[in-house]
């Protein structure tokens, strides 16, 4: 496709998934048993044959670099283009950490200028859904728009701005919601398509006027100056802004329809390959309604869980309603309920950990109890 993409590994807002983003950015938060959040939007880009993808990083990007590597597992280790990780001080324009998306884009102008494709796709990486980028670019051409974004009908959050869209798809109004009133409205998903030339001008305009946020300062305010169009994203789509979003979206994967929609609707969700063995179940294992990755050894009870690679759950241990990340060791007779355990947790015999469904207990990386 005649487009390149720029992904934001951080939203430059205050979106934080608790302890999970202490040592990593949003893009590399583990999700769904074997993925990282960035895998979803990246896989949609690969499916749409977008040849060049630049990932903007700010700080804590070591785990992201580990995960993406050369881009090989997404077939993005290309001779021309492919994957590029855009580090904060990659060129002479970046002389301090970027504080917002416009500064970040301004610091990678060289990358944008050197990209040959005509269209630019900008996207956040904390979105779990399959996006049809070909359709977005086509819509951009058909409507002769300046910018096309995606929107989704969802519950109103406190402090969010919804948009109004006319019958042609053009944005013609916006509204700020001071309180969450239990209603639903149309909200922009932070995925944008525009021409490369328009993007370069827009960065200059944004820097001139001190814009910080695409959605807040541009889309929802400048719709009468520019031709801004929006396409509805149908089907399952979750933006993960905090720990509750994260917990619920993981649990959503236990629903067969949602699983099919995300994983089997034609977009292969690609991720880093690790040569782990298949999972082995022992004679005492009792598994109900759980999603379990490769490389685990399970001889205990597991109910309503998402279990990542290489987790060991020993005899007599009971794990319920929890998300257990890579390489955890859960010893005999532990009882774990409503827990989100970051990588490499190790529990001695008989440990009891209980969170609540609306407030899951988070265990930070490498915790030993």
């Amino acid at each position: 496709m005649n487009a390149f993409s720029i992904l934001f590994s951080d939203t430059f807002n205050y979106d934080r998934i608790g302890e999970l983003t202490k040592n990593r950015n949003l893009a590399s938060v583990p999700f769904g048993g074997r993925y990282r959040l960035i895998d979803f939007v990246l896989s949609s880009l690969v499916k749409a044959r977008v040849p060049n993808v630049g990932v903007i990083t700010r700080n804590n990007y070591s785990s992201l670099v580990d995960h993406l590597g050369s881009g090989k597992d997404w077939d993005l280790d290309r001779k021309n283009g492919g994957l590029k990780i855009l580090t904060p001080f990659a060129n002479n324009l970046g002389n301090s950490y970027s504080k917002n998306k416009f500064e970040a884009l301004n610091s990678i102008k060289t990358y944008i200028r050197h990209n040959l494709p005509e269209y630019a796709i900008l996207a956040d990486t904390n979105i779990v859904c399959n996006i049809d980028f070909q359709k977005m670019v086509k819509f951009h051409q058909e409507t002769n728009a300046d910018v096309v974004c995606l929107y989704k009908k969802r519950d109103v959050y406190e402090g969010s701005t919804s948009i109004q869209v006319n019958e042609n798809g053009q944005i013609n109004g916006s509204r700020y919601h001071g309180i969450a009133n239990g209603e639903q409205d149309n909200f922009v998903l932070k995925v944008y398509v525009m021409k490369k030339s328009f993007l370069l001008n827009l960065i200059d305009t944004g820097i001139t006027y001190g814009w910080e946020e695409f959605n807040r300062d541009f889309i929802t305010k400048q719709f009468s100056t520019y031709r801004i169009f929006a396409m509805e994203q149908t089907g399952y789509c979750k933006v993960l802004r905090n720990i509750n979003d994260y917990y619920r979206a993981n649990m959503d994967l236990l629903n067969p329809e949602i699983r099919r929609e995300i994983f089997q609707s034609g977009t292969n969700i690609l991720t880093k390959i690790k040569d782990s063995v298949p999972t082995m179940y022992g004679s005492h294992s009792q598994i109900k309604n759980s999603l379990i990755a490769d490389g685990c050894k399970i001889d205990g009870t597991v109910e309503n869980c998402v279990i990542f690679r290489g987790v060991h759950i020993k005899k007599g241990a009971v794990v319920k309603n929890s998300i257990i990340m890579q390489d955890a060791e859960i010893s005999e007779n532990c009882q774990i309920t409503n827990v989100i355990a970051d990588k490499n947790m190790s529990l001695n015999e008989g440990v009891v950990l209980t969170g609540s469904e609306s407030f899951p207990f988070i265990i930070s990386k490498n915790t030993k109890i």
């Binding site: 769904g32 048993g33 074997r34 896989s43 090989k72 236990l254 067969p256 699983r259 994983f263 292969n268 969700i269 690609l270 991720t271 390959i273 040569d275 782990s276 063995v277 298949p278 999972t279 082995m280 179940y281 022992g282 004679s283 005492h284 294992s285 009792q286 598994i287 109900k288 309604n289 759980s290 999603l291 379990i292 990755a293 490769d294 490389g295 998402v306 279990i307």
Partner: protein, 394 residues
């Protein structure tokens, strides 16, 4: 000019594997799936990589398409190298003289040009139908210490098994004085594992000699090794004592898969220092439903399990329907199994469809006829309520 390599591996992967029946109808034996996510060939190739042998020729002949696609550029095994890496070597025409590989020795003979490119000191000859983990670097070290012309890895088998193998009779220093192919009355229990390290100069000399002999069957075991012994070349046995299994028959393939369910098996597949690599598809974690019961089993990615599974090995992307009972079975990738089916002591090959209520195989104690593993071939469809008897092959 390509840089010289100390040792190049030649992997014989052209065998038809007739004793695996439908499982090798459309693919060579080394391409048969094994152990939940591997193919048989992953074992010798991973052993090569882990032993720092980075140049591997894979000799193909019988039904090579699946194998060629699988090996590709060798990237999953880290064998996409600038110098060396993995090469698929099919038989080819050379002027008027081209022909199929006539035997194991002839297959290497026809690729002497390939070996000459790398000008190796040593050549490692492997076969593609064994499950084992072995450090070939250690074997090479041994070969050098013994100053041997040929070193053959041997496994200590029982006297009863010995007559199924090539047996090496050795002196106390492990030098070989006699080689007997499948002897009726074996004199020792040192069975050849089909793993050879040759000095390349000697190998080349004997392959050329062997080719000139019209009476030869061009086989390592039958012709080349006896000829070298006859000429008093220095042959040594290299004893190996780990897990090794020939998976050339339905029974041994099934047994080797069942072995993996034994937690005390001396074949550790999750050793981070000796990984078995394989080509992956982008697949999701597997899902086990509320209605399912899974014990003593290996389950791979993207499976959806709604039935009862015990003592089984299930490969990627397989569905097992509600109320289906499965035990002691091997289910290869992309199999769809309906509801209320009963599957015992069976091997079901890739892409098969087992409709609701089908009955496949039976436990030996519940069956009066001639018992064996039931086998369903690639893409076969077993209709609703159909019965497949033990030992039957569909």
């Amino acid at each position: 000019m390509i840089a010289k390599k100390e040792m190049v591996a030649m992997l014989l992967a052209g065998g038809a594997g007739n004793r695996l029946y439908v499982l090798t109808k459309e693919r060579a034996k080394p391409a048969v799936p094994f152990g939940g996510k591997y193919k048989i060939i992953d074992f010798p190739i991973s052993n090569c990589v882990n032993s720092s042998v980075d140049t591997v020729g894979v000799l193909t002949q019988y039904q090579p398409l699946e194998l060629n696609t699988y090996i590709g550029n060798g990237q999953p095994w880290d064998l996409d190298r600038m110098y060396g890496g993995v090469h698929i070597l099919p038989p080819y025409l050379a002027g008027a003289t081209g022909e199929w590989y006539k035997g194991t020795a002839n297959a290497i003979y026809q690729n002497l040009h390939f070996l000459d490119q790398y000008d190796p000191e040593y050549v490692l000859v492997l076969s593609g139908d064994h499950i084992y983990k072995m450090d070939y670097a250690k074997m090479l070290q041994y070969h050098k210490e013994k100053d041997a012309d040929l070193t053959i890895a041997v496994l200590n088998v029982t006297m009863e098994e010995a007559s199924r193998f090539g047996i090496l009779n050795t002196n106390p220093d492990l030098s070989v004085y006699e080689f007997e192919e499948k002897p009726a009355k074996p004199k020792s229990t040192n069975a050849s594992m089909g793993i050879y390290i040759f000095n390349y100069k000697k190998l080349k000399e004997y392959l050329i000699k062997d080719e000139e002999n019209p009476a030869s069957s061009n086989d390592f075991g039958k012709d080349v090794i006896p000829a070298m012994l006859n000429d008093k070349c220095k042959l040594f046995a290299y004893p190996f004592d780990g897990y090794w299994k020939d998976v050339g028959t339905i029974d041994s393939l099934w047994e080797a898969n069942m072995d993996l369910l034994n937690p005390r098996l001396p074949l550790n597949l999750s050793d981070p220092l000796w990984r078995i690599y394989s080509r992956h598809n982008a697949t999701t974690p597997h899902y086990i439903d509320e209605t399912a019961k899974v014990t003593d089993s290996i389950i791979s990615s993207a499976c959806e399990i709604y039935g009862n599974v015990s003592q089984s090995v299930i490969f990627a992307n397989t569905t097992v329907g509600e109320n289906t009972e499965m035990e002691y079975s091997v289910i290869m990738p992309n199999v769809k199994i309906g509801k209320n089916a009963k599957i015992q002591y069976a091997i079901i090959a890739d892409d098969a469809v087992i409709e609701d209520g089908a009955i496949i195989g039976a436990a030996p104690q519940d069956y009066d006829g001639e018992w064996g593993i039931a086998v369903i071939g690639q893409g076969a469809v077993i209709k609703s309520g159909q019965v497949v008897l033990p030992k039957q092959i569909v």
